[in-house]
């Protein structure tokens, strides 16, 4: 039996990427709380999985996509502390398929590529 990649349906994201260097406590704290909740549940529910298909189709992982582009700086900061496979979410939110593409399965190199991508655009320090 084969397993096909999940299809994603999400609303059009019109908000600009949040500037992580510009304080906006209300927005950031609410977003951070949601992101932290989904990320922690994702970690807990997939920590034993070796199946990347299952890891990337976990409900909490997909909910991070629903948070839209403002969550990008938080994901990049998360990658700075641990190279978990946030790459599908980043590809969907940024519509950029090329970052880290030369390192299939190498989460450390892919994380590094995305962190550099964020730094070059001033999204993270």
């Amino acid at each position: 039996m084969s397993q096909t990649a999940p299809r994603y349906h999400f609303v059009d994201i019109s908000a600009d990427i949040v500037d992580a260097n510009k304080p906006n406590p209300g927005l950031v704290s609410g977003l951070e709380r949601k992101f932290r909740e989904y990320a922690d549940k994702w970690y807990a529910e997939t920590r034993r999985d070796s199946s990347i298909t299952r890891i990337l189709s976990n409900e909490n992982y997909l909910r991070v996509i629903e948070l839209g582009t403002p969550v990008i700086p938080l994901i990049l900061k998360e990658l700075q502390s641990r190279p978990r496979p946030w790459f599908l979410v980043l590809r969907v939110l940024t519509k950029n398929e090329n970052v880290g593409r030369g390192y299939p399965g190498n989460f450390e190199k892919m994380a590094e590529a995305w962190i550099n991508w964020g730094r070059e655009r001033g999204i993270i320090k």
């Binding site: 990649a5 999985d49 199946s51 990347i52 298909t53 496979p85 590809r91 299939p104 399965g105």
Partner: protein, 152 residues
């Protein structure tokens, strides 16, 4: 995680057979590689036939989460199907399936025990394939493959 006593209660909660079958923790937790890469002796990247090639290294062009595709991938490493049990001068892998889909691979040690990388968790050595069989995630070992140790 206490490596000193070679056990991890959190792992035992996730895999109920571990404590009765016997195991030892052999590494720290890491996302650097997964069980398939570990069974293929490549602890540098994550192996998986992910739909997007960036999400997992895969040694063959066919990318499908199916037992046939996993068998083909290990065949590309000169493994062929065999029975369980220890065979002199051969190394073996076991592929686990849950709900019809491959979930995990373990590699046999020269003494007949097995080694596995557990998701984002640690590497362990376990006394049997049953030690990490379950009803919620890995399922059961259904396919064994071997290759001569000299070819490794």
């Amino acid at each position: 995680m206490a490596l000193s006593n070679k056990l991890d209660r959190q792992l035992e909660d996730l895999w109920p057979n571990l404590s009765s079958e016997g195991y030892e923790v052999k590494s720290i937790a890491t996302e650097r590689y997964n069980c398939i890469a570990f069974a293929a002796d490549d602890p540098s990247v994550n192996w998986w036939p992910a739909a997007n090639e960036a999400d997992g290294y895969w040694p063959i062009s066919q990318r499908e989460v199916s037992l046939a595709c996993f068998k083909e991938a290990f065949a590309s490493l000169r493994y062929e199907e065999c029975g369980d049990g220890l065979e002199k001068d051969f190394e073996k892998i076991a592929i686990y399936v849950f709900d019809g889909l491959p979930t995990h691979a373990a590699k046999q040690l020269p003494d007949g025990r097995w080694k596995s990388k557990l998701g984002f968790e640690e590497d362990i050595e376990h006394n049997s394939v049953k030690a990490i069989e379950d009803e919620v995630c890995y399922g059961k070992a259904v396919l064994y493959m071997k290759r001569p140790i000299s070819n490794g």
